[in-house]
C-alpha cells in the first residue's frame, strides 16, 4: 500500500478510484484491514469514504435512506429506524462487539460480499435496495440481487455503494432475526431473517432469507411458497422447517457441517414462525 486518500466528495472518490488502479475503498476497515494483514488483499492505495457526510446520513420519512458509510452503532442508536424496522436492530444486536460496531459500516458489510454478512438477510426480507454510483451515473439494485459469489458483489470495481433504501414498513409486519454462532464474536454459521404479516391466522405475506448456508445470502422462495396465503398452523410450520432444510445449499467447513447447518435453518424457520404465531394478529 503506497498511499491513503481522503477525498472531499463522492464524485472525487470515484475519480480517484479510476485514477488509482488496484486501489480499494475503505469504510470502517473491519473487513479490509483483516484481509490486508492476512495478505489476502494487497491494495495499492486506500480511499477512505467514512468521513463523507453524503454517505453517513440516516433519513427516515415513511421509508428510509441509510448512508452506506454509516457505522452500525449509529444505526442502532437511531430510534426512528429501530421503531420502524426493528428487525434491523435484531440483526445488529449480536453483531461483533461494541468496538467493532462503532467502526463497521452497513455498506461495508454488504460490499465485503460475505455469505455470512449479518445485515443481508434482514435487508433482503425488508425488500431493501442499494443505490450504486459510478462516474456515469447511479443505479438501484435490490439487496437480494447484490451478491454474486463469496466475496463478490455486483458493485463494480469503479463504483461506490452510496446508500441503502427501505420502503415504508409493512403495517403490523413481524420481523425475526436469528443467528447461530459458536461463541460470541463469531462469524455466524447459519442465520435467518423472517418478515411475516399474519391476518386472521393466515400469512398474507412472508419473506424468509438465510445467511451462511449458500454461496450468497439467499431468499428462501420454496419455503415461502409453502406458507404464503395459507393458515399458519403447527403442521404448516413443521412442513416449512423441512422445506427450508432442503432448500438451503450449505457447505461443510471448519465452523460446522452442512447437515448441521441445514438442521439449524429448519429450527430457526420454525422458531421464527412460532414467534409470529405466538404474537398473533395485531
Amino acid at each position: 500500500m503506497s498511499s491513503y486518500h481522503r477525498p472531499p466528495s463522492v464524485a472525487e472518490a470515484l475519480r480517484l478510484k479510476r485514477e488509482l488502479p488496484g486501489s480499494s475503498f475503505i469504510a470502517g476497515g473491519t473487513d479490509l484491514l483483516v484481509q490486508m494483514k492476512d495478505r489476502v488483499r494487497q491494495p495499492t492505495a486506500l480511499i477512505s469514504i467514512r468521513h463523507l457526510s453524503e454517505l453517513t446520513r440516516i433519513e427516515t420519512d415513511g421509508g428510509a435512506r441509510l448512508g452506506a458509510a454509516t457505522p452500525l452503532s449509529d444505526l442502532a442508536d437511531d430510534s426512528a429506524l429501530m421503531t420502524g424496522w426493528p428487525i434491523l436492530g435484531e440483526a445488529l444486536r449480536d453483531f461483533a462487539s461494541v468496538q467493532i460496531r462503532g467502526s463497521a459500516t452497513i455498506g461495508g458489510n454488504l460490499c465485503n460480499g460475505s455469505p455470512a454478512a449479518d445485515a443481508a438477510p434482514a435487508l433482503i426480507v425488508l425488500g431493501a435496495r442499494v443505490r450504486i454510483a459510478g462516474l456515469d451515473g447511479e443505479r438501484l439494485l435490490p439487496v437480494e440481487q447484490l451478491f454474486e459469489a463469496p466475496g463478490r458483489t455486483r458493485v463494480r470495481e469503479e463504483e461506490l455503494l452510496v446508500s441503502i433504501e427501505l420502503d415504508p414498513p409493512l403495517p403490523s409486519g413481524h420481523g425475526v432475526f436469528l443467528k447461530k454462532m459458536r461463541t460470541a464474536m463469531d462469524v455466524s454459521l447459519a442465520s435467518i431473517a423472517s418478515l411475516a404479516l399474519l391476518r386472521d391466522g393466515r400469512l398474507e405475506e412472508i419473506r424468509l432469507a438465510a445467511g451462511s448456508v449458500a454461496p450468497v445470502p439467499m431468499r428462501l422462495h420454496e419455503t415461502e411458497k409453502v406458507l404464503r396465503d395459507r393458515p399458519l398452523t403447527p403442521e404448516r410450520i413443521a412442513e416449512a422447517r423441512r422445506v427450508a432444510r432442503d432448500e438451503v445449499r450449505p457447505i461443510t467447513d471448519i465452523r460446522a457441517g452442512a447437515d448441521y447447518r441445514r438442521h439449524i435453518v429448519g429450527v430457526f424457520v420454525q422458531r421464527a414462525l412460532e414467534a409470529t404465531l405466538e404474537k398473533g394478529d395485531r
Binding site: R182, T183, A184, D186, I254, R255, A256, H263, V267, R271
Partner: protein, 807 residues
C-alpha cells in the same frame, strides 16, 4: 494475626500492565537489532533434496540466511530427538528448514518466502493407530544416539499396577467402561512467543526468553553454545513480562536456537516474534489423548478396581509434554480410594505437530475420562453421583496405591460443599424429559510441587537496602499467575516490612538463584517456603545486630522525642536490660521489643538499624540472605508407578448446572460452583483470578476449543476459527469457596493452586449434560453439533421438545 495474609491486594505488576508500561518481549529493542523469520516445511513428512537460498540472500536488507548446511547442528528436546534446523528430512508441517535475519520483519519474511526448497514427499502418519501398524513408516529412523529405532512408540515408560485387577473385575457388582478423547488445544497466551538473542564481545550470550524455566533454559542454551564451538561461554536468560505461559515455556524451542544461531552468525542482536497465526501453526499445542477406562464397585458403591490405558498422539518430536503420564498417574491411582489399579500410557510419534505441556499436565485429560466414567458407574449401580464420590472419598493420612502420602485432604468438604451450594438435594431425577441438569467432578493434583527432575528446588535471595526496602530475588517466573503477589505478601509478613517496600527482582539468571521452573502449580509453594527460610535468617541477622545497636538508637530516639515534647514525663523502663534476640519484633518496618510499656521512642525505623549496622565503626555489615528449599518428596520410579511425587496434594470439586437446547445442541452454563482445598488463602484477589481464569479455560476445553488439522496441517490458526470462551460465555454466577486445611508443608499452610481450577471442569459439565438430557458425549469439545448427533442417536429424532422449568 498477619495484617496482609489472606487480605485482597492488587498484584504488584497490575498497574504496570494496565497502563501499558510492562515490557513484554514485543517491546524490547536493542541497538542494531535484526529481525528473524523462519522458513517452515510444506510437507508433513518429506526428504529435503535441496535448499537454494540465493534469491533470499540477494534481497536488500538481508544479513544472513542459515540452513542445516551452513550451521552446526543443535540438538534439543526431552529426548534430544529434535534439531533446530532440519537437514535430512521434515517430519511435520512446522519443521524449521531455513531462517533469515534482516533489517526489518517484512524483509525477513519476504526473504524466508524466497528460499527454494525441494522435497521428496514420504508417506506420513496422522494418527497413533496407523503409526503403530506393522510396517508403518518410521517418523524417526534413529534415536539421538544414532541407534536404529523399530517403532513409532516413544521410548518413555509410565506404568502402575497394584492389587489383582482380574479378580477385582470379576468380583465387581457393577462395572462400566468407556473410551474418552481430548483434542489438541492451543494454550492461547495473550502474549505470543518470541525471543531476543545477543552476544557480547566475549561471546557470552544474553537471551530474553518467554520461558518458565530460566535455569534449565540456561543449561540448554549453554549446551547449544558448546555445540556451536563456544564451550565455556555462558548464557544469561532474562525473562521479560510474560503474557501467559500455560506450559509453553517448559521447553526451549527451535525458534530460540535459531535466534541464537543468527545472532552468532551476524554479530548483531536478533529478535524473533511469532504473530498469532504463527503461534497457532508453529508452537506446540496441548497433547491430544485417548483414554480407555473401566471402573467397578461393590454393591455398596465402594470402588474395587480401575483400569486405565492412555494413548497420546505426541506428534513428531518429544517435549517435556511427553512426561504427561507422570501426572496422569496421580488421579489414575489416587483420586478416591481404589485398591486394584492398572495404568499405562503409550506415546506415539506421528507426523502431526508435536505437542507440549499445558496447564494441568495430563491431569485434565485423565480426570475427564475418570470422572465421566465414574458417573456412568454411579448410574449402573443406581447410586447418586455425589454419594458415590462421598463413599470413596480420600482422607487425610492415607497412603495411596502409588505411594502418595496424603497429608491434609479437604476432598469431603469440597464434595459436600458443592452439593450444598448447587442445591444437589433438590436435583431432579435422571432422564431426558427436561433440559436442565447438574453435574459434578473432583480432582487431585500435586499441591507441594511435583518432582519430575532430580532437583525440585527453589532458591530465594532477600536483600534489605539502607532505606528498609526489601528486594526479593526468586528464580520462579510470574507469567501472569500472581507468583510475585504471593512473594510480596509472604515477604512483607515474614520479614516484617510494609508490602509497599517489597520489590521483586526481574527474573534473570545472573541475579536470581536457581529454580527448577514454574510448573506443577509449584511457584508459590516452593519459592514461598524458600522465602520463609530466608526470612528467618534475615530476622536472625537483624536481631543479632540489634543487640548492640538498638539501645543507642533508642537513646537517640528518646532524646529527640524529648526535645520535641519537653513536657513528657520520664519513663522508668530500662530497655538496655530488656534487650535479647528473642524479644525483638519487626512489623511494618518498625523494630521494637515485645511486652514493653507503650513508650513511643521504643519503636525504631528498620532503616535506622540497617544504616547503623552499615556504618558501624570497625566494620559494617549488609543484610543479604539466601535460602534453598527442596520439598520433602520423591522422584517416583515411573516403570513401577511408585513414589510420593509431591509434598502435599490439592483437592477440589466443581459443580455445574447446565441448560441444553435440544433443538440446536447448545449448552448454556446456568451456574457453577467450585470448592477447592487450597491449604491457606494468601491473596484472595489473586486466587480468584487464578480460579476464574482456569474455569474459563476449562469451559473452553469442555465446549469450544480444538485445533483442527487435515493431514497434519492446521486449519484454524486464528481466533476467528479457534474459539475460546468470551466474556459472554462465562457470564454465569460463579460461586467460589475455599477449604483451608492448613497444610503443614506449605508456606503459611498454602498448597499449589495454579492448575487445579481447570481440571474437573469438563467432566462436571459433561455430567450435568447427561443429567439434563440423558446423553453422554465422550469426546471433547462437546460442540452443539456433536451433542445434537448424540441426541439424535439416542432418541431417533424424537427428542423431547423444550420443557422449560422442568426442574
Amino acid at each position: 494475626m498477619s495484617p496482609y495474609l489472606g487480605k485482597a491486594r492488587p498484584r504488584p505488576d497490575a498497574a504496570e500492565k494496565a497502563t501499558g508500561r510492562a515490557e513484554y518481549i514485543h517491546d524490547i529493542r536493542r541497538p542494531g537489532m535484526l529481525h528473524a523469520a523462519i522458513r517452515f516445511s510444506e510437507h508433513a513428512h518429506a526428504r529435503i533434496k535441496g535448499i537454494d537460498t540465493l534469491k533470499a540472500e540477494r534481497i536488500r536488507g538481508v544479513r544472513a540466511v542459515i540452513t542445516a548446511q551452513n550451521t552446526p547442528e543443535i540438538r534439543l528436546g526431552f529426548l534430544r530427538d529434535n534439531v533446530a534446523l532440519k537437514g535430512e528430512k521434515v517430519r511435520q508441517f512446522r519443521d524449521e528448514v531455513a531462517a533469515v535475519a534482516a533489517i526489518d520483519p517484512d524483509v525477513a519474511a519476504e526473504a524466508a518466502a524466497a528460499i527454494e526448497v525441494e522435497y521428496e514427499p514420504l508417506p506420513a502418519l496422522f494418527d497413533p493407530a496407523s503409526a503403530l501398524d506393522e510396517g508403518a513408516p518410521l517418523v524417526h529412523e534413529r534415536d539421538a544416539a544414532g541407534r536404529p529405532l523399530e517403532t513409532n512408540l516413544m521410548p518413555v515408560h509410565f506404568r502402575h499396577s497394584s492389587g489383582d485387577i482380574t479378580a477385582a473385575r470379576s468380583a465387581a457388582a457393577h462395572a462400566v467402561s468407556g473410551e474418552f478423547s481430548t483434542p489438541l488445544i492451543q494454550q492461547s497466551c495473550m502474549g505470543t512467543a518470541g525471543a531476543l538473542a545477543e552476544f557480547d564481545p566475549r561471546m557470552n550470550l544474553t537471551i530474553w526468553a518467554k520461558t518458565q524455566i530460566p535455569f534449565l533454559a540456561q543449561r540448554d542454551f549453554n549446551s547449544a553454545l558448546s555445540q556451536i564451538g563456544l564451550a565455556g561461554r555462558n548464557t544469561r536468560v532474562i525473562v521479560p513480562a510474560l503474557g501467559g505461559g500455560f506450559g509453553t515455556g517448559l521447553d526451549t524451542h527451535c525458534y530460540e536456537y535459531i535466534a541464537i544461531l543468527l545472532a552468532w552468525r551476524t554479530g548483531k542482536p536478533v529478535k524473533i516474534l511469532y504473530k498469532r497465526d504463527q503461534e497457532f501453526a508453529y508452537l506446540s499445542p496441548r497433547q491430544s489423548s485417548t483414554v480407555r477406562i473401566s471402573q467397578g464397585c461393590d454393591a455398596g458403591g465402594r470402588l474395587t478396581f480401575r483400569d486405565v490405558h492412555v494413548t497420546q498422539d505426541n506428534g513428531a518430536y518429544g517435549s517435556w509434554g511427553a512426561t504427561y503420564p507422570s501426572v496422569m498417574m496421580i488421579p489414575a491411582t489416587s483420586l478416591y480410594r481404589v485398591p486394584n489399579i492398572e495404568f499405562d500410557c503409550e506415546l506415539v510419534y506421528t507426523n502431526n505437530t508435536y505437542a507440549q505441556a499445558m496447564r494441568g499436565y495430563g491431569n485434565p485429560e485423565l480426570t475427564w475420562a475418570l470422572e465421566s466414567n465414574l458417573d456412568e458407574l454411579a448410574e449402573a449401580a443406581g447410586i447418586d453421583p455425589l454419594e458415590i464420590r462421598r463413599i470413596n472419598c480420600n482422607e487425610p493420612g492415607e497412603v495411596t496405591p502409588m505411594g502418595l502420602r496424603v497429608t491434609t485432604c479437604g476432598l469431603r468438604e469440597c464434595i459436600e460443599g458443592v452439593g450444598e451450594r448447587l442445591g444437589w438435594k433438590n436435583k431432579g431425577g435422571w432422564g431426558a424429559g427436561k433440559k436442565r441438569g447438574v453435574g459434578l467432578a473432583s480432582m487431585v493434583h500435586v499441591g507441594g510441587s511435583g518432582r519430575i527432575y532430580r532437583s525440585d528446588a527453589s532458591g530465594v535471595i532477600l536483600r534489605l537496602d539502607d532505606y528498609g526496602n526489601l528486594y526479593v530475588a526468586s528464580g520462579g517466573v510470574d507469567m501472569g499467575q500472581g507468583l510475585h503477589s504471593a512473594l510480596q505478601i509472604m515477604a512483607a509478613d515474614s520479614v516484617g516490612v510494609d508490602p509497599e517496600r517489597v520489590f521483586i527482582t526481574q527474573t534473570d539468571t545472573s541475579t536470581c538463584p536457581w529454580d527448577v521452573g514454574t510448573h506443577a502449580s509449584r511457584g508459590a509453594f516452593t519459592a514461598g517456603n524458600a522465602l520463609l527460610m530466608a526470612a528467618e535468617k534475615m530476622r536472625r541477622q537483624l536481631f543479632e545486630a540489634a543487640i548492640d545497636l538498638y539501645p543507642d538508637l533508642v537513646e537517640q530516639a528518646r532524646r529527640s522525642w524529648i526535645r520535641a515534647n519537653p513536657d513528657t514525663p520520664p519513663a522508668d523502663f530500662d530497655w538496655r536490660a530488656s534487650v535479647a534476640p528473642e524479644r525483638f519484633q519487626l512489623r511494618n518496618n518498625l523494630l521494637s521489643l515485645r511486652d514493653t510499656p507503650p513508650i513511643p521512642w521504643l519503636e525504631i525505623d528498620l532503616a535506622k538499624l540497617i544504616r547503623a549496622a552499615h556504618f558501624r565503626a570497625g566494620g559494617g555489615e549488609m543484610f543479604t540472605v539466601e535460602a534453598f528449599y527442596d520439598p520433602p518428596s520423591e522422584l517416583p520410579d515411573w516403570e513401577r508407578g511408585q513414589g510420593n511425587m509431591s509434598a502435599c496434594y490439592t483437592y477440589g470439586t466443581q459443580g455445574v448446572e447446565v441448560e441444553v437446547d435440544t433443538d440446536t445442541g447448545d449448552v448454556k452454563i446456568v451456574a457453577m460452583v467450585s470448592v477447592l482445598d487450597v491449604g491457606r488463602v494468601i491473596n484472595p484477589q489473586a486466587l480468584r483470578g487464578q480460579i476464574v481464569g482456569a474455569i474459563a479455560q476449562g469451559v473452553g476445553y469442555a465446549l469450544y476449543e480444538q485445533v483442527i488439522t487435515e493431514k497434519g496441517r492446521i486449519l484454524n490458526p486464528n481466533f476467528t476459527d479457534y474459539k475460546i470462551p468470551t466474556a459472554v460465555e462465562i457470564d454465569f454466577p460463579l460461586d467460589l469457596e475455599y477449604i483451608e486445611t492448613d497444610e503443614p508443608a506449605g508456606p503459611y499452610g498454602a498448597k499449589g493452586i495454579g492448575e487445579p481450577g481447570l481440571t474437573p471442569t469438563a467432566p462436571a459439565i459433561a455430567n450435568a449434560i447427561f443429567d439434563a438430557v440423558g446423553v453422554r458425549v465422550r469426546d471433547l469439545p462437546i460442540t452443539p453439533e456433536r451433542l445434537l448427533a448424540a441426541l439424535h442417536a439416542r432418541y431417533d429424532d424424537h427428542i423431547p421438545r423444550r420443557a422449560p422449568n422442568a426442574r
